[in-house]
Symmetry: C2
Subunit: 207 residues, 2 copies
């Protein structure tokens, strides 16, 4: 008899991988990579270290999986806004607004997991810093690609520096992330987002 769609051979795992990954995401989001210990993770998951290592390999790989999960859930609004909104400007506007909503949510605001995860780090964790950096730069590239399309479609002037404009809005989002964690009032964050839109090429900034 073949084993198709049935249980595998050994002892079934007590660890719900999906649930455990969400727990890891929450801890890493709040405390960052270096601020979250394996003991913290296993305690929150309700398992012992060997179970964690069998399921995820290492703390570093678990962190990367948590980042992937973040990008596919809480952090997915950026990609969705870029894909769904009819204009680049509306996409950027939605990104700014949803950033405020997601980052300042809950009793202890968490900001952006990519922006606040591990900007600085011990030399031995360079890989983690580089990985996060890559993900942040990828976000800028995604915004830039949408702006380039807007140039082609005539929404933006051909002379537009799309790379710098994308980096500018990414910078505002990163700043929103830090200030959300600092407890800056949500209304202020919303106004920051609105102010950033005044820098949109050709926009008349209000008096």
């Amino acid at each position: 008899m073949k084993n198709i769609g049935k249980r595998p051979r050994g002892r079934p795992r007590a660890l719900d991988r999906d649930e455990a990954l969400e727990t890891a995401l929450q801890l890493f989001w709040r405390h960052g990579y270096e601020g979250t210990s394996v003991a913290d993770l296993t305690a929150a998951m309700g398992v012992t270290p060997p179970s964690l290592y069998t399921a995820f390999g290492s703390k570093e790989r678990l962190y990367q999986e948590a980042l992937d999960r973040y990008g596919a859930s809480y952090g997915s609004f950026t990609a969705r806004a870029l894909a769904e909104e009819p204009t680049a400007r509306q996409a950027v506007e939605r990104i700014l607004q949803e950033s405020v909503a997601v980052y300042s949510e809950g009793p202890a605001p968490r900001g952006c997991m990519l922006a606040s995860g591990a900007v600085t780090c011990a030399p031995e964790h360079t890989m983690v810093v580089a990985d996060l950096s890559k993900r942040r730069l990828a976000t800028i590239s995604a915004i830039k690609a949408r702006l380039d399309r807007a140039v082609i479609e005539g929404e933006l002037a051909p002379s537009t520096d799309t790379e710098a404009l994308a980096a500018f809005y990414a910078a505002v989002v990163q700043g929103l992330s830090i200030q959300a964690r600092d407890g800056v009032d949500r209304d202020v964050l919303k106004t920051i987002a609105a102010t950033a839109l005044n820098a949109w090429p050709g926009a008349a900034s209000g008096r």
Copy 2:
């Protein structure tokens, strides 16, 4: 005989306190609070742990002293721009430009020590996170105070939301800090700064 202006009684310290503090500043700036160990610090200073502890008390107090030193040296351009420039707009412009210069300096850009020091942290280091947060918020307040003065002097309309405008430019500076660390090209950073100025109330953002 009294001891006035002479050497104190005991064995003279081999540790140059000022020099050691600058060394600590550099390490903390690069690797953050959690990413810098006492062993790293003593090794770079060329002393043994007891010397560090008699001179600075604890790692946490040394970090705070390093932050003070940063604010009085590398990070002093903000306060100076706010005090020296004739208009609020020129002050903000200078802050943005000098941010780019300072944050992207050197072979391994360090960003802002306040913005990248310890956004996330282990629960047992909450004091450090809170201290950094307080310093970042103080910067926003300083900018706001200058904008309030600009309102009084007629440079800005009375309806201006000075708190949000100050928070906006602080957010851009914080984003610049992150992207400088990520290795974003210096010219792009400069254009981000210029773009942010287009959001200045009443400014016409270029086509």
